[in-house]
């Protein structure tokens, strides 16, 4: 299979394109993903933006306005419509522009999409994907920079994936679209312009599989989404001092690949979890609790969490740069678990 270098944005877009070609029941809905009703643009075979950050660019031209739909600013209505359509025969993808907006529509995701199957005694299936932007770094302030995936992971009936590279962005999206359960797919804004090798053909990364991004023997660093990149930077830094870090990227948070994480901890006996989300009831706490409950005897030191503080995301670059976990803080934490 030929492999090219693509940006994360291109890889994400390609996965949706290939799945929409493969399966006519896959549709896409969201705000400004198709460019309104702009006849002058349609005439030119263009859309306005293809989504705020261009994730869906070009899809309306190939698949048309029936399968690729602009929505009003009515997240409850169109995400709920995705649930209703999924339980009656389509495989909708709904774009929740920024995850920060989940507060206006969460009922349709967590009480409807996530629970219909269980409440109906298994007599419904809700194959849908909600893809949404997360994370800081854009100076977008408190209501456009959150992660919040811990909240979705808390909910039984939802699956959650957090890609970190162009390669897994594509494979996890194909996996999410083909999955028969509702999947929330979290895209970190800052990753969109990162690039890497991506095979041309349509491949699937199964949900629930972690990736060991770097083999190491001295300490395990579990790093989610963009934090994987920072963890790898930190590992390089530490390698200079002969400290050999293993970096595990969960890729899916629910289901979580517990065995890969636990095996690594049992091998290295030290654990640091890096999570850009706020700390309380977070994925970081979940993974540390997982290790404490299931690998207690293997741990040689107290695990450490490197997370954002328990505060909203500040606007000022001077503050946001302090807010987001950094390679330096990861280095510090690894040294601490090794001390």
């Amino acid at each position: 299979m030929t492999t090219r270098t693509l940006t994360f944005r291109e890889a994400f877009n390609e996965a949706i394109r290939l799945e929409m070609r493969r399966d006519p029941t896959v549709i896409l809905m969201g705000e400004d993903i198709a460019g309104g009703a702009m006849t002058h643009l349609e005439a030119k075979g263009e859309e306005a933006w293809g989504g705020d950050l261009g994730l869906t660019k070009g899809l309306v031209q190939e698949f048309g306005r029936s399968r690729v739909r602009d929505t009003p600013i009515s997240e409850s209505a169109f995400i709920g419509a995705a649930v209703g359509a999924a339980s009656t025969g389509l495989r909708p993808i709904a774009e929740l522009m920024f995850v920060d907006f989940f507060g206006v529509c969460f009922d349709q995701i967590y009480n409807q999409g996530a629970k219909l199957r269980y409440m109906f005694g298994g007599k419904a299936k809700v194959p849908m994907v909600v893809e949404t932007l997360i994370g800081g770094g854009f100076r977008a302030a408190g209501q456009h920079s959150q992660c919040l995936y811990s909240i979705f992971t808390h909910i039984p009936g939802l699956k959650t994936v957090v890609p970190s590279t162009p390669y897994n962005a594509k494979g996890l999206m194909s996996g999410a679209i083909r999955d028969d359960d509702p999947v929330i797919y979290f895209v970190h804004k800052v990753l969109l312009d990162t690039s890497g090798p991506v095979p041309e053909d349509n491949y699937v990364i199964p949900l629930g599989k972690a990736e060991v991004a770097r083999q190491g023997k001295d300490a395990t660093v579990v790093a989610i989404g963009r934090m994987r990149l920072f963890a790898l930077e930190a590992a390089q830094e530490l390698a200079k001092d002969g400290i050999d870090v293993e970096v595990v990227d969960p890729q899916s948070l629910s289901p979580l690949d517990e065995s890969t994480i636990l095996e690594s901890v049992k091998k290295t006996h030290r654990l640091v979890v890096v999570d850009e989300d706020n700390p309380l009831c977070s994925m970081a706490s979940e993974i540390i609790s997982l290790a404490a409950r299931n690998a207690f005897g293997y741990l040689d030191s107290a695990p450490q969490a490197v997370t954002a503080p328990h505060t909203p995301v500040p606007f000022s670059p001077a503050l946001e740069d302090v807010y987001i976990p950094s390679p330096a803080k990861i280095v510090e934490a690894v040294r601490a678990v090794l001390a």
Partner: protein, 323 residues
């Protein structure tokens, strides 16, 4: 109503009687402590659910509410499975996992009772969107209460259905109350159907105790939906006989009001009309009364005799697969 066949008249009466019988029995069983949880009864509103569903096929969809028993029976869900579900038995519509507030039968187009007010609006847009994209002629009726009319989801759903011309009928069951709160307090609009103006769609209010009026209004709206012309908002004004849920003392009802309601009984009104016009005979109606009673007797017996789900069932049906 001229064009209503005798079979349809019989079907309408049978469904209304089945609902009434089911609800009166459920009230008893709740009082006896045999049915747990929150139970919201539909008695008094039979003409709405039945008048609506008389316009639908098995392939059409409805989204329902917390007060869903009547919608289920009108849409053809098996009363046996329904009663077993109220008991929390393994043989229930949802194998005991949902209970009264979540009875569903997706294969029969019943997309579920719902514990969340206004949640059916977006779901109805979804089945409507499916039909539109696949090019089928399936229509979805979204039942919602007067109280639900104040939930943002209903506004968003009616606007979305209107701009996308989705084959959806928004059917507001205005029984005058949201729990203990009267519609004239919680709703600023004169009539809830006035809100159709906000979406530039047809909207009208009809007498929810007159099954013929409901039937006619809905048949027009369903035809419009099947023609691809988009949604309609219909408000059916009626009442409920029982409290909001079982256990409600109903102190907010005045005696006058209760008397007025009894005088507007939708089943009595139907009987009077079909008998006066000689469309059905006393005997035909009596046979249906007997059959309905028997059906519900059997449903209760079935529920009583059915086993509870096995404890392990707690863990199943969360996901199709969970690696």
């Amino acid at each position: 109503m001229a064009e209503m066949t005798k079979d349809r008249l019989l079907w309408i009466y049978e469904r209304m009687r089945l609902i009434r019988e089911f609800e009166d029995r459920a009230a008893q069983l709740f009082a006896e402590g045999k049915i747990p949880g929150f139970v919201h009864l539909y008695a008094g509103e039979e003409a709405i659910g039945v008048g609506v569903c008389a316009n639908l096929t098995d392939r059409d969809f409805i989204t329902s509410t917390h007060r869903g028993h009547g919608h289920c029976i009108a849409k053809g869900v098996d009363p046996k499975e329904m009663m077993a579900e109220l008991y929390g038995k393994a043989t229930g519509s949802c194998h005991g996992k949902g209970g009264s507030m979540h009875i569903a039968d997706v294969d029969r187009g019943m997309l579920g009772a719902n514990g969340i007010i206004g949640a059916g609006g977006p779901l109805a847009c979804g089945s409507g969107l499916m039909a539109k994209i696949k090019g089928t002629d399936q229509v979805t009726v979204c039942f919602f209460g007067d109280g639900a009319a104040e939930q943002g989801t209903m506004h968003e759903s009616m606007n979305l259905a209107a701009i996308w011309k989705l084959p959806v009928v928004f059917l507001c069951e205005n029984n005058g109350y949201a729990q203990t709160t009267p519609a004239h307090y919680h709703c600023a609009a004169k009539d809830i159907s006035d809100r159709a103006t906000a979406y530039n769609i047809p909207g009208f209010s009809v007498d929810g105790t007159d099954v013929f009026a409901v039937y006619e209004a809905v048949s027009e709206a369903v035809a419009r939906a099947r023609r691809g012309e988009g949604p309609t908002l219909i408000e059916c004004k009626g009442f409920r006989y029982y409290g909001h849920f079982q256990g409600d003392n109903m102190s907010y009802f005045t005696e006058e009001e209760k008397a007025q309601n009894r005088a507007r009984d939708p089943i009595d009104a139907f009987r009077k009309r079909v008998l006066e016009r000689g469309l059905l005979s006393e005997k035909e109606l009596a046979d249906i009364d007997a059959r309905a009673k028997q059906t519900i007797d059997e449903a209760v017996a079935f529920a009583e005799q059915s086993p509870y789900p096995a404890p392990e069932a707690v863990l199943t049906d969360v996901y199709v697969s969970y690696a």
